[in-house]
């Protein structure tokens, strides 16, 4: 369990972690279905939605990252994907791209670098700065 720092919030956090992980597993199944139907853009949208809840639990973050990673690697047409993605998802996508770039795994890094360039052209430098400055909601 995540560290006990006392107070009622910790218990809520622990329960929430299990619930969040269940939700992530459901999301993962939905994404697999969407990918089998060759709809990678919807898969990415599903993966990014609901990944913003404030959770400090490393397991939740890792589980979320695995799901988003699967969706990102399935994207072939980057321009088309960014065209149809809502602007509200740009910031969270940028955070996941930086997480992907820190893994050091060659295919992940290649894909993330490609998307990063196009996303910066579309969303601007503010997107990168918000990603750097947000120390509370990290992925």
């Amino acid at each position: 369990m995540s560290g006990r720092r006392g107070g009622p919030e910790e218990f809520v956090e622990a329960e929430n972690a299990e619930a969040i992980i269940l939700r992530i597993e459901q999301k993962s199944r939905k994404i697999e279905t969407l990918l089998r139907q060759s709809r990678p853009v919807e898969a990415l949208k599903t993966a990014l939605e609901g990944s913003a809840p404030k959770t400090m639990d490393e397991r939740c973050k890792s589980a979320n990252w695995i799901v988003v990673h699967r969706a990102i690697m399935a994207i072939k047409d980057v321009d088309g994907m960014l065209f149809s993605l809502d602007p509200e998802y740009y910031d969270i996508l940028m955070k996941y791209l930086y997480r992907g770039l820190s893994t050091g795994d060659r295919p992940t890094c290649d894909q993330c670098l490609q998307i990063h360039e196009k996303l910066t052209q579309r969303a601007g430098l503010g997107c990168i700065l918000r990603c750097l400055a947000d120390t509370e909601n990290t992925v």
Binding site: G104, C109, L113, H116
Partner: protein
Amino acid sequence: MANTQRLYLTCIRNTLDAAMCLQNFPCQEVERHNKPEVELKTSPELLLNPVLICRNEAEKCLIETSINSLRISLKVKQADELENILTKKFLRFLSMRAEAFQVLRRKPVQGYDISFLITNYHCEEMQKHKLIDFIVQFMEDIDKEISELKLSVNTRGRLVATEFLKQFI
């Protein structure tokens, strides 16, 4: 291959463009002191998230920003033992002359080959986009330099060996 390098450098350039937002900030703990906060890391509210950009398993770039300073650490690709030695010697040569470069750090950060430290004073004296151009140009040139050095070592070795062994013919 050239394409991944271009993408890698573009990514670093964009990140630096966004991260190089430095302003003067006197030390909070000690009166009349002005220290680069990224080096000390005493106050978490003054630091931004560090960002690690990897091109592959061997090459990576760590960018850490704070309110008044920015630290960039590079790990250069080293394919074999010879390149390892050449890189270490060459970058040590540069680091010892860090005064001349102004933005170079005397010792690289643990786990990396070379580090730059850019403070708000550098941004005031020099132009921001030129600083970024310098860093990116440095990254491009370092690969070429190391290859050239390797080539010249191999050539010289071959010449010396040929001359030496001639006396035994």
